[in-house]
Amino acid sequence: MIRAETLVKEFTRPQRVQGRFSGLRSFLSTRTVTTRAVDDVSLRIDDGEIVGYLGPNGAGKSTTIKMLTGVLVPTSGHVEVEGIVPWKDRRANARNIGAVFGQRSQLWTDLPLRESFDLIASLYGLDPVDYRRSLDGFVDLLEMGPFLDTAVRSLSLGQRMRGDIVAAMLYRPPVLYLDEPTVGLDVVAKARIRDFIAEQNRTEGTTVLLTTHDISDIEQLARRVVIIDDGRILYDGGLESLRDRYAPFREIVVSAPRIPDSTDVPGLTLTRTVAAGDEVRATFRFDPADLSAPAAIGRLTSSLAITDLSSREPDVEDVIRQIYTDRGVVA
């Protein structure tokens, strides 16, 4: 179980001085600026949960994860993972957690991938028989046989990422932090990694905290999402209720030879028009609480000469964009 209470992380950096001799004056200046990367974050993740942790770049996602792994010491607040305060006892915490940071690798580059695994097994004091069994299982699941004896530096990004995920799970930690584990991967590689994570969660009961910019990662893995921006938690709850709360609208896309921008249909809002060949395609929004879908379609057909029509629910990506825009963050 992961428990964070009123977690705060501030970074203090020397202030840059503007104007003449700014370089020298910045060097001599003792003035500092403090920024709050994580501001009063409270979070509780139960055993076996997969939680998606979302937010724009610089929102505080990685800083939170670093505090949960024990690499960063919180400025204030309390954090506990599997009953251990990570930064106070990194060594004891180590065997309970696995971490993948998509942007960096923990593997040793010059030797074959297998050698990195062997070394990690030794550093975590794994029994050789258990280790063999785990590794064989992982190699099967992630189809790593063909490149297990290739030097890490020669691996493709997808292969390396699989290597890093296995490196984080060799000792079967109950908690797994995945910070952008699919960044830069192609569709097939992404799918393989998602399936693997889902499988580990199902069979081993691994608790997973996952950050990503790829919403389909979240849709396919997590039932619960936490959205953070500017260091603060904006939303913590189910994926479904997220939609109801932030994007309680439906959309109808209609095609017609002519749709003036001034089109006014009661109960519907025109949000977008795009030229499509001879026709114009327009997106209308309505609130299903005020207007039923058939009624909305009826109103549209009576006011416009429609040739085609489709209806869609906003997907999570729309929702996230909506949240970021509301907050003045560019998505």
Binding site: F11, T12, R13, T63, K66, T69, G70, V71, L72, V73, I84, V85, P86, W87, K88, D89, R90, R91, A92, N93, A94, R95, I97, A99, F101, Q103, R104, S105, Q106, L107, W108, T109, D110, L111, E115, D118, L119, S122, L123, Y124, G125, A151
Partner: protein, 275 residues
């Protein structure tokens, strides 16, 4: 907060460190061409050093109070010790800092310090083939005389061990600079040059002007190479030998304290400021 059972038993820790030594040594052998150039380079250095010092002495048997045989022996052994002591694989820490992998290394069941030292030891072991080949060539050339006395030989062994410990700690500490600045390439080039010169590996301290010799003795570099090798060629070891060994031991203590301090500052920087 921490329970005893959460820690690795000492036996497992030792196994983990042994694996780190092996892994680091094998990493050095990963590039076959560089292994061979290492061996050839070391052998060449021995041959050249032998040639140059023999030529410098020419007909003379003693220069600045140093006998020819001692000077040549010193120079050849200097090449061997430098090869082994200062393999300059800062990658144990620096490479990990540059790629950010250090974040993983500080959250393992074994502390990052012994692991980094074990990796440096592995780097040293990887130099053994080169040093071994050069030793064989040196012996074949007759460039290495026997130690000054059996006592000198024994004292030299002890002194070499102390010298290696000093080299290990100094290299580790210098590697920590990477926590403050990742742009370290140039700085290390200068450090490496200074360290080699000050250790007496290139030119024995005997031949340096008194003021330089005195100041270099105050640095921890001469304790790495110069001290053990001058003990080796010393025909009359005595209290001055004991004093030299004592000074080395003192350096070990001072440098361990310094390394501990720097490490704590470095880790503080990582965990408070985020590196």
């Amino acid at each position: 907060m921490s329970t005893a059972t959460a820690r690795l038993p000492a036996r497992r820790v030792r196994a983990g460190l042994r694996a780190s030594v092996r892994h680091a040594a094998r990493s050095q052998f990963a590039f076959r061409a560089s292994t061979w150039t290492g061996i050839v380079g070391c052998v060449l250095q021995v041959i050249l050093v032998h040639l140059v010092w023999t030529a410098v002495y020419g007909e003379r048997t003693v220069v600045s109070g140093v006998a020819q045989g001692d000077a040549v022996t010193y120079a050849v052994l200097g090449v061997l010790t430098t090869t082994i002591f200062q393999p300059f694989i800062f990658d144990s820490l620096l490479g990990r800092l540059r790629t950010g992998a250090i974040a993983f290394d500080v959250m393992r069941p074994i502390s990052a310090v012994p692991v980094a030292l074990a990796r440096q030891l592995g780097g040293t072991l990887a130099q053994l083939p080169a040093a071994g080949a050069a030793l064989v060539v040196g012996l074949a050339l007759g460039a290495i005389s026997q130690p000054g006395s059996w006592l000198s030989g024994a004292a030299c062994l002890l002194s070499l061990m102390l010298g290696f410990t000093i080299a290990l700690i100094v290299n580790f500490t210098v590697g920590l600079v990477g926590f403050w600045t990742l742009e370290t390439g140039g700085a290390f080039l200068i450090y490496r040059m200074l360290a080699q010169f000050s250790s007496g590996a290139l030119i024995p301290l005997w031949f340096m002007p008194a003021w330089l010799q005195d100041s270099l003795t105050l640095l921890p570099f001469s304790a790495q190479v110069f001290v053990p090798l001058s003990i080796y060629v010393d025909q009359d070891p005595g209290w001055h030998t004991v004093r030299a060994l004592g000074l080395q031991a003192m350096w070990v203590a001072v440098l361990v304290a310094l390394a501990t301090l720097v490490w704590h500052r470095a880790i503080r920087r990582l965990v408070i400021f985020g590196g």
